[in-house]
Amino acid sequence: MSSGQFQTRQIGNVRLHVCPSTKFKTTMLVAMFQQELSTKYVTQTALLSNVLLRGTEQYPTMLDLKKKQNDLYGAGLFGDVFKRGERQILHFGVDIANEQYLHDASPLLEEAVGLLCEVITKPALEQDIFVKSYVEAEKRNLKQQIEGLVDEKAQYAAQRSIEAMCKNEPYAIFINGRVEDIPAIQADNLYTYYQELLYHCPLDLYCVGDVDIQRVISLFQKYLPSEMFTSERKQLGLSQTAPVSVQQVNTVIEHLPVNQGKLNMGCRTHITVQDSDYPSLLMYNGILGGFPHSKLFMNVREKASLAYYASSRLESHKGVMHIQSGIEIQNFEKAVTIIKEQMEVMRQGQISDQELAQTKATLSNQFREQQDRAYEIVQSHYHSVLSGTNRPLEQILKEIAQVSKEDVQKVAQKIQLDTIYFLRDQGGEADEKN
């Protein structure tokens, strides 16, 4: 992936990546902790993202913390977990105004680094463990968040389809954790786990804005305890996953009281971001379903008028591709047939010059556009950290430009449909309209 103009410094066992830029009116700081995606850790890690935002030593309540943020011109403070292949990433960040755009404001960068470090390393404690009432409240919220996945039907269907496809692989784990793990988590054992993660999981720090790298380094050194840099951090290796070969296509139909059917199809691409044919995979996905000129949009939506959306997307660390579409329930077979046909057509190399040229142009545009958003610059660089594969912007653009029809066809021949998942209404005559 592209890496912007980052300068990376190894400070002890922590990496700091700084991208100096004058085009933003704010400065963004992000800390990324890497954990293996495992049922052992997933729920605790997810819970930490909420508990650490409840209060700190200096700002012990959420209200104190929010007031501090407001005082720093509404510094955006965020914390969350996300999935990259079979990794769970816990990240915290601050986005703060650059004082040169404000009347009478004091320098804010130091305040921002101080605030981020405070949130990460100095949580509010009682008797040397997390505050019990915070942990209990956040356990309730997390439970509601996990159970609430079903409220967003498209996301729910996407997650259920991954669970069906990757039953015995960590990739199937829901990123916010599992309801059954919640009762056993307590203020003391969560605090022990937090210490473990803080000092022993791989940590990357990011800064994007109109800043000087030496200044950023010295501020992090000032506000993070020195053990953060000296403690041994575990080696998680690169985010590789074991190859899985598809024996037969698995079809799963699930019933809920819904109006629209959600069709998800999961495919094994057998190619990850680490492989040399990854740019060809990007092209394959783009031609099949990445854009409004793509085969899925043209055939499922424009020609057959079956759907409002029909698209495909890649998970580049795991090497899977997800296809999704919202359709009328009785059109299930019709839609599956059209999608399979489009994949078959690509296997046979039926790709027009126009499709190839359009996809090169739009894909390259996507990569170049990422450079205009601080958070995307960070995310894009972090892909390269996780995969150990650095494709700077100019290189990925060049590689995309070189992909031929034959390269795309070769990729098409590797791709296997693994799972068809359909979320539909409760069906049958006994069912009433809701």
Binding site: S21, K23, F24, K25, T26, N50, M62, L63, K67, N70, Y73, G74, G76, A97, N98, L102, H103, A137, R140, N141, Q144, E147, G148, V150, D151, E152, K153, R160, I253, E254, H255, L256, P257, V258, Q260, F291, H293, F297, M298, R301, S305, L306, Y308, Y309, G326, I327, E328, Q354, Q358, A361, T362, S364, N365, R368, E369, Q371, D372, R373, Q426, N434
Partner: protein
């Protein structure tokens, strides 16, 4: 070409109104790879009854502005315009709101070709009986998607609860039944009325040279002929002070309830325009943040009581003709939440916002405006929206700096009136929502 400098923000804006009435704005952004352009008509879902001088008064089916937006992508050549944008490396899209329809693209290459494509396709409609019919299936699925979206349903439910007559209460996409009535003739009527250049605004922002953009747009527009059109008159039924329904209830397949509530603006308020409206909007946002924003005492107590979680938020919409505050999120106890609001709001309104609270929310708002100014999309869309009610996005920070504590307390007391309060709740189905495989 007029040059407007905003020194504090280090931004320069260029503007010209062309002879055919089209308003063109260009904002060069240093260091950006991307260019983003929006071509917007002041025409949205609420404009369903209208008249132009010399023609008859027309009432059109619900959802037609949005339907028209979909159909603009069709071209006489038979090729969807997305195809041209893709060839030129652009990402194109469009959206319809209550008051605007906007066509847009972003790209990092071939800006001039993409801009020409944008101007040309939006100014050459091509509707046939067949392509109108085909779209009914696609939009039907878009409507179905929203039917299953609990957040949209609870949001829209609140607007329906608030409004008795104003067309803001009609879903932007219409219904499967209302769009069935749409024909190519009605589409052309709407198109010819609202897509006249004098009702439109072009905004180009990013890696551009303003001189060249103006030259291109002027030459492009000079080649096209538009008959002069008088002022469009829009008709809205009178909206009373009282809400349509105090409590609106729905059941959907969700795990937890969702509860939104808010206050409708009084008729006198929504007659504002220009920088008065901007100031009133900012005062409302500031008092809402003090009253129920995440740094308010009220938010903190509701959070600790387990009545709200971090999905809770607040928002304010104001246009000429309607306006409302809206707050809410997921909750396990919607009735208790509403009861607490009804108890706590009057207390806070009586006590007023303190000087300390006011200074903090004002700082927060200034910072959030700066953060938004990183986004070319936000600038183009917000600028257009403000321009359409005669105010100026870039006046936001100076206006904020001029607002006093008294302004904000007065606005709060004017707005919070439980006679104009409504609640929309989506609750889980009584039967189990556990999936069956």
């Amino acid at each position: 070409m007029k040059k407007i400098e905003y020194k504090q923000l280090k931004e320069t804006l260029y503007h010209e109104t062309l002879p055919n009435g089209l308003d063109v704005y260009v904002l060069p952004k240093q260091g950006f790879a991307k260019t983003y352009a929006t071509f917007t008509t002041k025409y949205g879902s609420i404009d369903n009854t209208f008249q132009v001088p010399g023609k008859e008064k027309v009432h059109v089916p619900d959802g037609i502005a949005h339907f028209l937006e979909h159909k603009m992508f069709e071209q006489e050549s038979g090729e969807d315009v997305f195809q041209s944008f893709s060839r030129q490396g652009a990402s194109a899209n469009a959206f319809t709101s209550f008051t605007r329809t906007s066509y847009l693209f972003s790209c990092t290459d071939q800006v001039e070709n993409n801009l020409t494509t944008l101007l040309n396709y939006v100014q050459s409609p091509y509707f046939t009986d067949e392509n109108v019919e085909k779209e009914k299936g696609i939009i039907g699925q878009e409507i179905r998607m929203y039917d299953d979206n609990a957040d949209w349903r609870v949001y829209f439910g609140l607007i329906e609860a608030m409004y008795q007559n104003h067309p803001v209460k009609i879903d932007i996409a219409g219904t499967v039944e209302s769009i069935a009535k749409i024909t190519k003739e009605t589409l052309y009527t709407c198109y010819n009325t609202f897509y006249h250049p004098s009702n439109m605004l072009l905004f180009v922002i990013g890696a551009v040279d303003p001189q060249r953009i103006f030259q291109l747009v002027k030459e492009n527009q000079a080649q096209k002929k538009f008959e002069p059109q008088g002022e469009i008159e829009r008709f809205f039924d009178k909206e009373p002070n009282a809400v349509a329904e105090k409590r609106k209830e729905m059941r959907l397949s969700v795990n937890a309830s969702k509860c939104y509530f808010g206050f409708k603006e009084a008729p006198a308020i929504i007659a504002n325009s220009g920088n008065n409206m901007l100031k009133m909007e900012l005062c409302t946002q500031l008092f809402m943040e003090s009253l129920i924003g995440s740094s308010s005492e009220l938010y903190q107590s509701l959070y600790e009581e387990g009545l709200i979680d971090d999905s809770f938020g607040h928002d304010y919409s104001i246009e000429q003709g309607y306006g409302f505050t809206m707050m809410g999120g997921d909750t396990r106890k919607p009735d208790e939440l509403v009861a607490r609001i009804e108890q706590l709001f009057p207390q806070k309104v009586a006590k007023g916002i303190s000087a300390e609270e006011f200074e903090l929310v004002k700082k927060k708002k200034i910072g959030s405006v700066l953060r938004s100014l990183n986004s070319v999309e936000w600038i183009a869309n917000q600028f257009t929206s403000y321009r359409f009610h005669d105010s100026d996005l870039f006046e936001m920070i100076p206006t904020l700096e001029s607002i006093t504590l008294k302004d904000v307390n007065n606005r709060m007391r004017e707005h919070i009136d439980f006679a104009r309060f409504a609640v929309s709740t989506v609750r889980p189905l009584e039967q189990s929502t556990k999936p069956t495989v």
